[in-house]
């Protein structure tokens, strides 16, 4: 207890009682710290029940120049060009509405606040601050296209087919 | 024995066959394997009874009902000497490519296109269980 401490708090005169007390206080502190750590670990989910972030878009051949396919579940466009295939997030960069592809004007429009994007994802006009991000496209073992919606790639990075 | 048997067989056959000397050699490792071995043995058995037993017989003695006017007679698969003389690769090869494929009688047909590799493996596993002791 403090009352057993040396009158002068600055100097460390190590009496046996003092050690005992410090031992106890230390143990408590340790326990507290440990509990905190364990709680954090506890709060970290160890399994996830989330929809797949990747989806199979189809065979490369399905994406001739100009094809635009919308995957509703994954909120992404898969677009075929002469050079290759790329995927575009369909989530508007303004307030996160789901954009729609207007086939007649061949552009992407947001129903909420009228933002408009071209097929590269660049903002044509509207409140949207940034262009739509490009998503990673790769090929799986069976040779069909796989889009990973979590990975954003620099604009213009086509998947050559 | 009914449960243990397959386990041991599995230990001595499939593990080396699958080319995992390091793990397979370890008996304790093999001893952990019964379920896998049992399932595979079951599959192998059902394939054997359906396709092979008519000539080789249910016990593998080469006395299936279709055997009697075959020349040469079907192999007695239970014969320990035979079992010793053949590696799993050999057996699988005969099953796969038939007698003709390995320079034996063409009366043993090739099953390589009827079964997939895994099934051939399972049959082989069962063949090993036919050895008489």
């Amino acid at each position: 207890m403090p009352d057993e401490e040396s009158r002068d708090g600055e100097t460390e005169s190590i009496s046996r009682r003092d050690v005992v007390v410090r031992l106890g206080v230390g143990a408590c502190a340790l326990a507290a710290a440990g509990s905190a750590a364990v709680t954090l670990d506890f709060l970290e989910p160890k399994v996830l029940f989330e929809p797949q972030t990747t989806f199979v878009a189809g065979a490369p051949l399905d994406f001739a120049d100009g094809t635009v396919r919308f995957n509703r579940e994954q909120k992404a466009y898969v677009i075929g060009t002469a050079g290759g295939v790329y995927a575009l997030s369909a989530v508007c960069t303004h307030l996160g509405c789901i954009t729609r592809f207007r086939s007649e004007q061949r552009m992407i429009a947001c129903p909420c606040h009228g933002s408009q994007f071209d097929l590269e994802g660049n903002v044509v006009h509207g409140p949207a601050p940034r262009s739509l991000p490009w998503l990673e496209v790769s090929e799986n073992a069976s040779g069909s296209l796989v889009v990973e919606t979590r990975v954003i790639v620099p604009q213009g990075k086509l998947f050559r087919v | 024995m009914r449960r243990i048997g397959p386990t041991l067989l599995l230990a001595v056959t499939v593990l080396p066959a699958a080319g995992c000397g390091r793990v397979g050699a370890d008996p304790t490792a093999a001893a952990v394997a019964p379920p896998g071995g049992a399932y595979e043995l079951e599959l192998g058995k059902s394939i054997y009874l359906a396709y092979c037993a008519t000539c080789h017989g249910e016990t593998g003695a080469g006395d299936g009902f279709n055997a009697f006017n075959l020349d040469p007679r079907p192999r007695d698969l239970g014969d320990p000497a035979f079992q010793k003389s053949k590696s799993d690769e050999n057996l699988e090869d005969v099953v796969r490519r038939g007698g003709a494929g390995v320079g034996l009688s063409s009366l043993m047909p090739p099953w390589g296109h009827t079964f997939n590799e895994r099934q051939i493996e399972e049959v082989t596993l069962f063949l090993r269980s036919l050895e008489r002791d």
Partner: protein, 248 residues
Amino acid sequence: MRVSLASRVRGSAVYRSIVRHGTTATNRNRSLVVFENLFLHVHPVKVREKTLRFTHTFWLGGITLACAFILFVGGIPLMFYYHPSVPQAYRDMKELQYVVDNGVFLRNLHRWAAHAMVLVAVLHMLRVFYHRAYRPPRQFNWVIGVLLLLATLLLSYTGYLLPWDQLSLWGVSVGTSMVKEAPFIGERIRFYLLGGNVVSENALLRFYVLHCVVLPVALLLLVSVHVWRVRKDGGVQGPAGAERKNEP
């Protein structure tokens, strides 16, 4: 002469802004420890030495309080992994057991602490009775105590349904069907309690809210009053017969 880290911290302005009293063991400081501290100032600065004796109260009230504290603190993390819905509620128990780190420990702790609290609370009540500590001026605190006991029972009981296993379902069915027998209002009460006529997902949700919000708050209030009253009524009272001993 070496200046320890500890003492340098104690010297810092920040530390002083938080802890107003010094470390030196003067009675002034010790008093400050108590009444400068929100949680400790339910205590008087000085207490009768005899009240510290184990046999004086057997610390039963304290143990009950400790259980309550453990239940509060342990219950909150559990809520992070619980959905009051069918069949997810039951699956969450399995998740705690199989997936969540230390989940099963926390669940067990919560369960056993709950049982312990009911038991100790009862013992506490008996202790108070046999020590005649309900006598004036403590009458009202006794009443609060009884209410606390009821709150404790209800908390434990509402929590009993949450795992949504056979034990919960039928434990609660049996209990609530007793309520049903109350004349005139019984049916009604049960209907409100279960949010229906059978123990269903509604009941689960209602019990969940009761268990996690309503009753804990009620308990908290009652406990604060209870503890505060203990001090106002002149501290813990030990054996009534204690005085008898020191007759001339």
